[in-house]
Symmetry: C2
Subunit: 243 residues, 2 copies
């Protein structure tokens, strides 16, 4: 197992950080490294809002559901899918351009995810810890207003980055046999059952608070309600018309 | 610059591979490593179809627009956003579950992208090369039938993996100043103009075929048509109703 694979396997989300700033030139280097990720047809459909203003950080804590580390990590980045830049670039050549395709929503969402994951790994390789903040989609309209996000730009997730002040247990993952299917999709309920036992054990024995649950039970609250039901209307409003 | 950052920065898509197989246990180890990526609420909303059948590989060459390396790389993976597994897990607890939310489409698309990027990096750390195949969305319905993808599962992209038989130039990226915005979204057209000059020079001097173009010109064919206009209907049909 080489060092990079070791690093990748040691990922855990960090939610407690030292009161220590990341040198600004290191942060920029991490982002530049992130940009080396693959990008669909070189489109690079993303922008990153680096939120340094303390007042904005505090407001983002509220807008993401009270996650205090959004204000307490050394840095907070808002990763945006950005179709504005490529659309304008294409238009500048004299072409009539088409916007609002579902395909464009997918491309930009994948593009920004690949960059973010590269940044996460680069950060971890420098001894930093990160936490993705999907809660940025709790109030995407308010976040967009706060950060002046224009048409054809939407906030996909945030990321806290800083020096870790905790080392939580690494959370187990589904057996690889559940994830990988040979040539055709196949049933994996047997592996899910096994994983429920794994997670039951994990929740009982983990550091920092145990509970009685398993994987299926932990997912239930996520699916028994219309979570973030505003997203479609928000995206349409933002020019990701999804047609 | 540490070795992991060096590795990340050396990424280029590989489209020519040696005729040499990746040991099966290494491939599984790469995928297991990929699974360590962050996942929204532990949902792990992805499946990977490992296509080993030669006939299927040949058909996928056609369905992705004639990209021969889809058949010629040691391995070909089809990365699917998979909401079936978590929906069924949640349902098994006795809950009434909600499917088809746009939010779920986003979560699964991000989840599978993070895993894929981790696998890409793990592969490159072992001296392998990769190429993402967005062309899997050229004919997503036919791909779904070929690979028996069920409801609530959709193919997001493919990935060729193998031992590189080429080392193309590393493609420049937008200046980091265009990508990163401080506290609020801001105009970046000045940096885009500079990048057009960078790309003009790159296209004139790169190995393996030069041409007269720049970034904006290279994007025009992507936006002057309704590229993959079937995606919305396809996703609705697959149970990503986008509501």
């Amino acid at each position: 197992m080489n060092d990079t694979i070791k690093l990748l396997k040691s990922h855990r989300s960090i939610r407690k950080f030292e009161e220590r700033e990341i040198p600004p030139e290191l942060l920029i280097e991490l982002i530049r490294t992130g940009q080396a990720a693959a990008t669909s047809s070189h489109i690079q459909a993303y922008s990153i809002i680096h939120v340094t203003d303390k007042h904005l950080r505090d407001q983002l804590v509220e807008l993401t559901g009270g996650q205090k580390y959004v204000a307490r990590s050394s840095d907070f980045l808002v990763f945006c899918a950005d179709m504005k830049r490529p659309l304008e670039a294409a238009k500048s050549t004299g072409e009539n351009v088409v916007s609002g395709m579902t395909e464009q929503l997918l491309v930009a969402t994948v593009d920004v995810s690949l960059v973010a994951q590269n940044i996460a790994i680069a950060a971890e390789s420098e001894g930093l810890g990160i936490c993705y903040i999907g809660g940025i989609r709790n109030n995407p309209q308010a976040v967009s207003e706060l950060l002046s996000l224009p048409h054809h730009v939407y906030p996909v997730f945030g990321m806290c980055i800083g020096y870790p002040a905790q080392y939580p247990d690494i959370k187990p993952r589904l057996p690889v046999e559940a994830i990988v299917k040979k040539n055709r999709y196949s049933d994996d309920s047997e592996h899910v059952n096994a994983f429920n036992l794994t997670m039951h054990h994990y929740y009982q024995t983990r550091k920092g608070g145990n509970k009685v649950s398993d994987w299926s039970q932990s997912l239930a609250p996520r699916f028994n309600q219309k979570l973030r039901s505003h997203m479609q209307e928000f995206l349409i409003d933002k020019g990701f018309e999804m047609k």
